[in-house]
Amino acid sequence: MKTEKDIALLKASIDQLNQQAWEVRVTDSNRSLVLSNEALNLATTIDYTKGKAEGLRTKGFCHLRLSKNKEAQALLEESLQLYKALNDAAGIGYIYTGLGIIQRNMGDYKASLEFLNQSSELITQTNYREVEPLVYYHMGITYKYMGNLEQALEFILKSLAVGKEVNNWIAEAYTLNTLGSIYDELGDYDHALEHHHQSLVIRREAGDKWGEAGSLDSIGSIHLKQGNYPKALSFCGQSLAMARSVGDKKGEANSLFHLAQIYNAQSEPDLAWDNARQSLIIREEIGDKKGQAEIYVCLAAMKLPKKNQNEIDSEQMNFLKKALALGEETGALDLLFRIHQSFYKLFKQQHQFEDALQQLELSDALEKEIHSQSFKQKILNLEIAHKIEQSKKEAEIYRLRNVELAHLYEESTKQKNEIQATYTELKATQVQLIQSEKMASLGELTAGIAHEIQNPLNFVNNFSEVSNELLVEMNEELDKGDIEEAKAIANDVKHNLEKINHHGKRADAIVKGMLQHSRSSSGQKEPTDINALADEYLRLSYHGLRAKDKSFNAKFETDFDANVGSVIIIPQDLGRVILNLINNAFYAVTEKRKQQIDGYEPTVTVSTKKLDGKVLIVVKDNGSGIPQKVLEKIFQPFFTTKPAGKGTGLGLSLSYDIVTKGHGGTLRVDTREGEGTSFIIEIPA
């Protein structure tokens, strides 16, 4: 039992198969046939009407491609019934196109036109734009087969226009191909070749081997007309091989027929006859009446191998009779004209002048009919050809513009990528610089940290040792029975254990602070005791400098506002700012101390203040102050007044970024030359 879900899934995969089959129907008809067959079988098992209709449709088109017109017709008609049941106008419309093509292939141009007209109507109604250019194209072709070049061109132009609009390469390639054929018929071989070559390029790009075979054959046949037999042989030979490789019967027959004519022109009657016979067999097989008639006309004019004159005469007559029967069925004027011309020539050759005259009259009448049409049409065609050229030029302009735009786009993308790469590189360098600045200040800190850790560790060791001694004493007191004293000692031990714990935690906090400081960017904002933070870094800075420089000595003072409390900041970042400012302050007072001014007491003061909605952290020194000309540069990256190798020049610039960008605050400087400097951090709280 299939559940509803199973069926829905199955339907989706059938739809997908049909979609794939439809997409490759032109480029790979054999695969399309396999896929559509699979879809059809699956759809039949669950009686899925839409799946069946689509499968049958694509399968039908593939048979059409393989020139199996009868089978194609049966499949498309079955599909048509299903589309009608589904009331799917677009589906019905496209089936009509297929039926129109089949009727044309079988030589019934009137029926072909009827189907195509219906198709066009339905497709326009349903706005099924994807296939619109194809329908117009086929209408053009049918008109062309009927010898009505005016209508043929009109529809082909329309197909070209819509094809470009909906970006249908199939229509564009086929239209170019047909234009090539029209130029061919007009005797303008250069233009004909040009169009066929354009079509060939598009088809090759799209991987449409059917189309490619057709273009190659058309090019070969034009070379044949121009008498360029080696080229003709080459192109038609390629076409034949390609048509055979994809099972394109119609294409195979065309190439074979053209090869026959080429061999005939090169006086190779055996090869000519062999190729013509093969072509005829295929055209019979696929029901191409006009094609068969053309071969018979051609055979009637060919030098036939190994026959005596009587046999040749009767055989040639036979060929023409067959051609006439077929030609009348198709009603194609140009074909009939050529058949009667051939009869006339043959009768004349055989000295049957009465019959010859009759044939001449018939062909003249046809010629007049054709010429009266074609004279007007030639003028019209020239106009249309002009229009085509114009629209092609426009299209070319578009194409060039697109190429230019694509080029510009490529260029700008390239530039964008370059900028992106440079930016990424800069960003990486910046991260490295920040990290090296951190490591540099960490280096300054390590001595201070060592000192800071040494003290609590000493206490831990000392208090634990002394507690041990106390316990020995306590036991002695207990032995003596002096409980009171023992209790007093026990109390001391307890007190010591608290001290041990306190100093252990102190060391722990210092190590944690150091790790936080060196960490790349764990930058989480968290509530932080600002006073404790400032105090911690002040001590670290002081001991660090002290450890590094024995002569260093400065007073530090703190003035913390207890109301400041906890503020949400990134502690390691703001800690770095404070550390940096304090280091700078100590540096400033140390420099001034070197001047050995009497009574000068180097002092650094760190103070905090809670104001309305904000907190101030002020690092003040009584150094020499910052000269005016330096002042404006101090926040610039890489600016430093320290000797080479002593400062990265990034401290203040990074501090500035951390305070402003990282915390939405401000970093100001207030300096008086000779008196000192205050850096004021102001952050929202």
């Binding site: 040494q454 003290n455 206490f459 060791n461 000392n462 007190h495 450890a547 530090f556």
Partner: protein, 125 residues
């Protein structure tokens, strides 16, 4: 005899009181504490010559142990109290400076209290 201990770490007081509890109990030694160089000087001014031995840390905010040493040795000429310096940074620079300023001894942290005890007893004796 009174020993003045100068250190910015306040817990030094409890530590000394415990480490020398026997000596304190037996009346051999008594300790006073100052938590900065300035405080130490104040004490010395207030209780003239009461302290015979001063144990001072070197690294302290404000007045350093070396400055304190200098003051003491300059001010109290005859006889100046014994000053023993204690520091975490037992480098040559600190040592030479301390000796130049007249320090009587130079100990490095961590302090070995057994040795210190011995030294103090010798000094007092």
């Amino acid at each position: 005899m009174k020993i003045l201990v100068v250190d910015d770490e306040t817990d030094i007081q409890v530590l000394f009181q415990q480490r020398f509890r026997r000596e304190i109990r037996d009346g051999e030694m008594s300790f006073v504490f100052a938590f900065s160089g300035e405080e130490a000087l104040q004490f010395l001014e207030q209780y003239d010559h009461e302290a015979v031995l001063i144990l001072s840390d070197i690294n302290m905010p404000g007045m350093s142990g070396l400055e304190l040493l200098k003051h003491i040795k300059e001010k109290y000429e005859a006889p100046p109290p014994v000053v023993m310096m204690i520091t975490a940074y037992g480098d040559d620079g600190n040592y030479n400076e301390a000796m130049k300023l007249g320090a009587d001894d130079f100990l490095t942290k961590p302090v070995d209290f057994l040795t210190l005890k011995e030294k103090l007893k010798t000094r007092i004796a």
